[in-house]
Each structure stands twice: as C-alpha cells, then as structure tokens.
C-alpha cells in the first residue's frame, strides 16, 4: 500500500448530455481536464475554485460516484473504479445543501439507517450515534423529524452521518454553503478537530478564508485544471511583486472598470458590492503607482475611502484564477 491517502493521475471527466426534445442535440462539458494530486495521510487538503471549476466533479471521481473518462485515482491504495467496495469502506462524503436526508425520519433514525448501511456493528451503533450527535451538538433534538431542522442543523447531521463508520478519508464538498457565519465557524472547528485526530480531509470551498484557515495545502482549481498548488504561504507568493489599491465607490460603470483594467501596470481590477457600497480592488505591479490614473478614470463617481495595501492570500487567489481568463480578455492585452 502506498503512503498516500489520495492519489490522482491525469483525471478527466467529460459530461455528455442531450438537450432538446424535438431535435436532440449532444452537448459535451469537459468538467475536469487532467487533475494530478496527492494527499498525505492525515492531511487537510483544500480544493479551492470558483463555481463550475470542477470541484464537485473531482470529489465524485475520487469517492466512486463517477467513473473517470480518463486517468486513475486511488484512495488508501485502492483503485476507485475497480475496487469500489474497498474504497467505500474507508471514505465519508458530506455535501453542502439541505438534501440527502430522510426528511420524515428523525435524526436518530437517519443515523441508525446509515449506520446499518455503512456496516457499523450493531452493538456499537447506539454509542457511536450518541457520540456523533454530541459532536455535532444535536443531542436533545435527535427525536425530531429532520423536516423541521434548520439549514445548519441539517448540515451538522450530514457530517455526523459521514463520520458514522469512522472513515479514514472524509470528502467535504462545500460544507459551509448556505450556513450562517456562526454555524460556519463551528463547522470549521469540527473539521479542524477531525483532522487533528488523524482523519484525512479533502475539502472543497469557494471561500478563500475558509481554505486559508483550515488547510495544510490548497489546490486552486479553475476550468477543470489545477492552476496552483501549495501551502497558503506558498500560494501567497503568486501575488508577489504586486500591490493593491482599494477604493470605496458608489456607481462604477462597466466601461470604467474596463478602462481601469487597461491602464498600464494594472493586473486585475474587480468590483464587489456590499450593501450600497462598491469596493473596487485594483492589483498592479509594485513598481507602478496607479492611484492617480485610477482616480482619474473614476472622475464623476462619488468615492469613499481609498487605501493602498499589501496583497493578501485572497488577492493571490484572484490572480491565479484570472490568469486563465487573461488571453480571452482583449482589454487586458492592451494593459500588458
């Protein structure tokens, strides 16, 4: 057996679907296009990428729910296509969202059923279920039907279910999606505790901060390929040689953003909206002072605070993800 918990070599997956009823058309989506990665035993590994990057597909290739179009993968040394039962015995899978549970059954019944399915010995079930209900803080509510549960409670129940059979490798697909910030923080603590006790965790997320806080190593995935892989500190280097300008604004037009993007020395420019305020973030080469030029482009727009700062991991992430889009953006070509 190899020393890695997860090994993937050249994983690819193409979805073929038919759309249209009268004149069916075949559509192909290359969701994952050649992913190589290894995750060590006990490592907490993050797969970080925007929506549609191929995170869920990668997880499902590794946890036997999908058969790869090409490439191979092993979990705990077992092939995910030919040794599915061996793999399934050793893995847990938790996905975000509120589906995947029996709504009209209580939390306890849900756990009892899956304990049975996943082969938890009958005499251990009671203790294990109580232990997990405690871990996810659902003790006292385990007799209630799941249909009355909040999003966060369902998510915690999902996690308890995923851990019933003490999996050696846990796949967590965007576990914090739709969960309130307090619940998300508790969830991160649970995940960190698990990893601390030796469980290998592969976590996908599109929140940089979540990956940064939890993961030993992060692979940034976009467009079905891994764009960068390393510890959070290593990934931060992708923004080396850059500086960041942040401008609070009210009403930046798309054309203005494009013009800013095209300024000499500007590498990235994006706008995020919080309430009525926009925050314009501009990444530029460290040697070039773009502040004056940027403010000139924003002439006529009401502005708030303007700050210059060092790049964060978030900025590095933006830089990595946008790198692949660069050739298709004509404006950026002008900016050099």
């Amino acid at each position: 057996m190899s020393g890695y918990a997860i090994e993937a070599v050249g994983l690819r997956r193409t979805y073929r679907s038919r759309t249209g009823w009268l004149r069916p058309q075949r559509r192909e989506v290359e969701a994952v296009r050649g992913v190589d990665l290894t995750v060590g035993n006990g490592e907490l590994f993050g797969l970080l990428g925007p929506n549609g990057a191929g995170k869920t597909t990668t997880i499902k290739l590794l946890n036997t729910l999908l058969i790869p179009t090409a490439g191979t993968a092993r979990v705990c040394g077992h092939d995910v296509v030919t040794q599915t039962r061996e793999v399934r015995r050793r893995i847990g899978y938790v996905f975000g969202g509120d589906r995947g549970l029996y709504d009209r059954l209580s939390a306890r019944d849900n756990l009892r059923y899956f304990a049975e399915l996943y082969g938890v010995p009958a005499r251990e079930q009671k203790r294990r279920i109580a232990e997990l209900l405690d871990l996810v803080r659902l003790t006292g509510r385990e007799q209630e039907r799941v249909e009355g549960y909040s999003r966060g409670m369902r998510q915690r129940l999902h996690i308890a279910r995923g851990l019933l059979h003490r999996p050696r490798v846990l796949f967590l697909d965007e576990p914090s999606i739709g969960v309130d910030p307090v619940a998300a923080r508790e969830l991160r603590r649970t995940v960190a505790d698990l990893a601390a006790t030796g469980t290998t965790v592969l976590l996908t997320t599109h929140y940089m901060a979540e990956a940064d806080e939890l993961c030993d190593r992060i692979a940034v995935i976009a467009n079905g390929t891994i764009q960068a892989l390393g510890t959070p500190a290593e990934l931060r280097h992708h923004a080396d040689g850059r500086q960041v300008l942040e401008v609070e604004a009210y009403g930046v037009a798309d054309a203005q953003l494009a013009a800013i993007h095209a300024l000499p020395g500007v590498r990235e420019a994006s706008v995020t909206v919080t309430g009525a305020t926009q925050v314009l973030t501009v990444q530029s080469d460290a040697g070039v002072d773009v502040q004056a030029a940027v403010l000139r482009e924003l002439d006529g727009v009401r502005l708030g605070r303007v700050t210059a700062r060092q790049p964060t991991l978030e900025d590095a992430y933006v830089a990595i993800v946008n790198r692949i889009n660069a050739p298709t953006r004509p404006l950026e070509a002008v900016g050099g």
Binding site: Y15, L101, Y113
Partner: protein
Amino acid sequence: MIAVGLLLHTKQLTRSPFEIATALIVPVVQATLAVYLFRAGGEPGRLLEAAVGAGLMGVWSSVLFGSGGAIQNQRWQGTLEMLMLAPRPPALMILPITLATAVTGTYAMLATLLWGRLLYGVPLNFAHPLLFLVAVPGCVLGLGMFGLLLASTFVLLRNANALANTLEYPIWLVSGMLVPLTVLPGWTGPIAAVLPTTWGARAVQEAASGGPVWPSLGLCLAISLGCLVAGALMMTHVERRARAAATLALA
C-alpha cells in the same frame, strides 16, 4: 440490515401526507366498488373474495408506483448517492425500499376489509384464517422482491411513469385479483402463469375462500426469488451505468 431499512423506509413512506390521504380514501372506494360489482352480479356469497381482491389491488398499486419510482424518488431526495456509497451490493440498498412499498400496500388490504365490514357488512369468514395471515405477508414479500426488478428496469426507461400507469390495470386483471382467471381470454393464461402477482393473489384468495394455499404461495415466492436475482443483476448494471453517465445525482 434489510429489516432496519424496511422499518425506516416504511416510516418515511407512511408519513407523507399525500400517502396518508390516498391510503384513507382509496380503500373505501375500492371496497365500495367491489361490493357493488358483486352485488350487481348477484353473487353476495362472494363478497369476501371481492374485498380481498380489492385489497390485493391496493398492494399491487403501491408496489408498482412505489417501486417503479423508488430510484427516481431517492434521486430527488438526494439520498441515492448516499445509498450507493454504502460498501454493499446496490440491490441490497433498494430492496428494503421496494419491500416497504409492499408493506405499506398491506395497509390497503386491511383497510379495504375493515371498510367492507363496517360499511357493507361483508362477512369476514375466512376459510383458513391462520393461513390468510401467512399468505398475505408471503404475497407482500413476493411483490416486494418483484418490485426490485421493476425498480431496476424502470430506472432505465425514459417513460417509466407512463409505463407504470399502463401496467396498473392490466396486471390486476391478468393476475385475477378481481375477476376469476377463467373468465379471461385464453392467451392471457401464460402471462398470468409467469407473474408472481397471479400466484400471490391466488394464495391469498385460497386462504380467504378455501383451497390449497401452499402450492400457490410457493410458486409466488419462487418466481419472486427469480425476479430478485434478475433485479439484483440489473441493479449492478444500472449502478455502473449511472456512474458512467453521471445520473446518480440531479444534474
């Protein structure tokens, strides 16, 4: 494991408000229909037979729609992936569900008999009361196993729902649940002979109104066991196909 699965899936099924409403209304309608049909036919002596037949129809409908849609249902709930991730043969994951649909259907049998008794005074004079209590669970078990074959076949078909609708009445008829097989045209004979529903229905009827229950029950279970094996092979194929085609989850 099958027992726990059966128990919990039955719980899940019987707690749906739609299911409960249907379960309350349908038996009354069925009992009424059966009783009036037979009264009109001037055979009041066979009222019990009629009520039992109506009850069997209820079991069959529950299996047909419940099992036929079992996989689709799990997919909608998002639980199909979780079931398939269990380190066990896929058929074992689905069998408890199809058995549960048959068990839920038994309720229709009980309710039809009860309403027949309360509303129309159908005499519950079973020929072999004890055998009846064996034949019904036997028949239910058989139908549940047959259900696995339905579940695995239907999931491959695009128009499974339409097929389920078109299969409901013919199988009632062909299996002789309501009318005796002897009044049906001769060509239905062979079809009836290979359907587990026929033998299950016959065993239950024999227990109710007299006859050698065991041979029919044995045949019903033997054929069902065959269906179970076929269904299990089919499930393995279906699972593999679904993993290749990415149809375990909702796209």
